[in-house]
Symmetry: C2
């Protein structure tokens, strides 16, 4: 642990994370220089995570670092981009200890190594407010191939990677807002909240086989509604087809109203799975590209009045809250 100040922290802990990326100039300069390979473009995405809003106050700073990086990588995955580099803007609370800052840098170092990324710039400040972490992530992809929300076509299948609702259940447990399941399930759900898995392994497959994609951050219903809206289509989504984990199934089995339970999972958010629109004849190719990552079909896009129509065993479901908004 060092008692050094802002510049010491940047040079000792952050600058080494830029090694191997010449355009970052060792974080000693006014900015970084970056260029895609010829014929490629850069994909750029940014998310701000605030303590007490996007993660519980008192969260392990290494988990905050992991989460901040991963939610951005999830956006790159949804665009079909390969991750390359990132910027870090951090506002420390005045009472943050040196040990907390060290732990944050440890987490960041471990994460960027896992994803083959480089830190290329940022800004380190302090305030009277809560810890706030902004990551801006840069990906790369062939020019003109970015997967967008607005590309769904009538007849496309609504496809979901992995399982939905685990992160919300993990957060509810952290908040003491639900009864606990057995320890194996709880450990799985806690990790699903604290370590979202960006589906970068599917990026190239998406560019080739998906018409539209979004990562599930606000909630499956809200995010599929974004695709339907941007594509000017109606999406009929079958809640009973939504993929859930064994842990979520165990929670649903105890729920007095399993239909409402599924609505809560579908509106909870923080899944960082991908919600996709895929032409039926491309589904098998996409499954091959996905490898061991499960893909589940839970609906179909069609012409119509637009928006999201949710059903449960064939019956329409009224959904009041589809996801999270900040104001």
């Amino acid at each position: 642990m060092s008692a050094g100040g802002e510049f010491d922290y940047i040079m000792r802990r952050l600058a080494p994370l830029s090694a191997g990326f010449p355009g970052a100039a060792g974080l000693t300069d006014d900015g970084a220089v970056i260029a895609p390979a010829p014929g490629n473009e850069l994909a750029v995405t940014t998310d701000t995570l605030v303590s007490g809003v996007h993660f519980p106050a008192g969260e392990d700073p290494a988990c905050v670092a992991a989460r901040a990086l991963r939610v951005n990588l999830s956006d790159l995955a949804a665009m079909g981009a390969q991750a390359r580099a990132y910027l870090l803007n951090i506002v420390w609370p005045h009472d943050a200890t040196g040990a907390l800052r060290e732990r944050f840098a440890d987490g960041l170092a471990a994460e960027q190594g896992q994803f083959g990324l480089h830190l290329i710039g940022g800004d380190t400040t302090a305030s009277a407010g809560p810890l706030a972490v902004t990551i801006t992530a840069f990906g790369e992809l062939p020019a003109g191939t970015a997967v967008r929300r607005g590309g769904a076509q009538a007849g496309d299948l609504a496809v979901i990677t992995g399982t939905i609702g685990d992160a919300w259940l993990g957060l509810q447990a952290r908040l003491g807002a639900r009864e606990r399941l057995d320890e194996t399930h709880e450990a799985f759900l806690a990790r699903r909240f604290s370590r979202p898995e960006p589906r970068l392994e599917l990026a190239a497959g998406l560019r080739e086989h998906a018409h539209a994609a979004i990562d599930v951050s606000d909630g499956l219903l809200a995010d599929f509604e974004h695709i339907a809206g941007a594509s000017a289509l109606t999406l009929h989504l079958a809640l009973d087809e939504m993929p859930v984990s064994r842990a979520a199934a165990a929670w649903l089995a105890r729920h007095p109203d399993p239909r409402q339970g599924r609505v809560d999972l579908a509106a909870g958010g923080d899944d960082y799975e991908l919600a996709l629109a895929v032409a039926p004849h491309r589904l098998e190719a996409l499954r091959t590209a996905a490898g061991v990552l499960p893909l589940t079909v839970a609906g179909r896009f069609s012409q119509g009045p637009g928006g999201l129509h949710v059903t449960w065993k064939g019956e329409p479901v009224e959904v009041v809250k589809k996801g999270f908004t900040h104001f």
Copy 2:
């Protein structure tokens, strides 16, 4: 004024700021796509401004928007890049009114028009903390031509654009921390704090004629020390040659210790002028490129033990605080 929420604000006030930049997809997507022209690179820089730290609490949100954008454009100018696009991450305090958010968007719209920029993405959230605004700015420049801090050579002149210390004096007046001058001077100093002028007009000239550059944000002394350190040279800086405005001169004339007054101006920061290292035979060409923007020579880089040596009328000056640090 609308009572709409987060998505309404983004679509109604922010999305129009992306018009004309196809890669922004109208801010409806997970991220933006950007590429430099063939043979060019992107310059990327980012700064976070927090209420009560980087600007006074209660500041006009239109001024906050202007300041957040301009301090980033100043970094692009120091790299020799032309500004193209930006990301906006904003954390609103929970008690921010719709009127404040409208005012912020008004300011942003006016500013980006003035600089020919497009908003291409970002993140809008709210927290219990103070207003925090992060801008990430993208510039463009020919590959390999970025002006860096570490390029100064022995014999180079230390050159300063505009005048130093005005923004600090403007802030001191805002804080009630000094006696007031006449109204014309005060209006000038207030504006120098609230509307820094990024020296983008000098970007191309810097690439051609300067060995090193930095924008003066932490303080002239701290920032020139960054150039000297990164270039492994000693800089002899003559405080009495430092350019000051007529308003700052009026303040100095009343100061009981004009030498200490100059040290305060040189350590104050927020100038967003450029501090440069320029070979003597390039000075006239750089002056021509600068047009009406004054350039002042205030020192010289040399081989030696390294670091910054400050003098006042030929006598060494001990400087305790050279600029601002956050922790």
